[in-house]
């Protein structure tokens, strides 16, 4: 039943090892940015810049030291902010992960 030749015992991996922090799943990215400065853009176009405290599976987000930016202008500041996940368009890392 084993008609094909066996590969050598030490097959070379099909993919090169991951380059430093530039690959990985979306989940890996999100784990990496917790505690870092991020920019959260909502579908409305409003940006929130702050430190990502945590987030959940709905992409609900808790931010600290948050600035609300509308058209590049700071329109509000919040010590803490909860953002409901359905409004989130993207989360951008604002410092090296």
């Amino acid at each position: 039943m084993d008609d094909s030749p066996k590969p050598p015992s030490d097959p070379t991996p099909p993919l090169p090892p991951p380059a430093q922090s530039h690959t990985g799943s979306p989940t890996d990215f999100l784990k990496g940015v917790v505690g870092k400065r991020v920019i959260v853009r909502l579908t409305s176009g409003v940006d929130y810049r702050g430190i990502l405290s945590c987030l959940d599976g709905f992409m609900n987000i808790a931010l600290e030291q948050t600035e609300e930016h509308v058209n590049g202008i700071v329109t509000n500041r919040y010590g803490d902010a909860f953002i409901r996940g359905n409004n989130v368009l993207y989360i951008s890392a604002a410092e090296p992960i």
């Binding site: 917790v34 505690g35 909502l42 409305s44 929130y48 405290s53 945590c54 987030l55 959940d56 609900n60 987000i61 808790a62 600290e64 948050t66 919040y78 010590g79 803490d80 902010a81 909860f82 953002i83 409901r84 359905n86 409004n87």
Partner: protein, 94 residues
Amino acid sequence: MESNGIQEPFDLIRLSLSERVFVKLRGDRELTGILHAYDGHMNLIMSDVEETIMIVDPESAANGQGVVNVAKRKMEMLFVRGDGVILVSPPART
């Protein structure tokens, strides 16, 4: 890095119960009021609420910033449907 033991975003809301919170809603509306209850949809029960509605005048919107009119009203007790919520901010924490 967790500065005050928040494990998940809803902890922020839980710690704001019985406090005055700021809520940003869809449709250029904002609320401030005392948070009494919430659930996983972010349905909210609030009391002593002031609602601020930003009304953009299309005529003057052409020549710059468009917020011309701000309407306010007060409500004693309010149920907020969760899908209208954009952001909730607790009072300045200790």
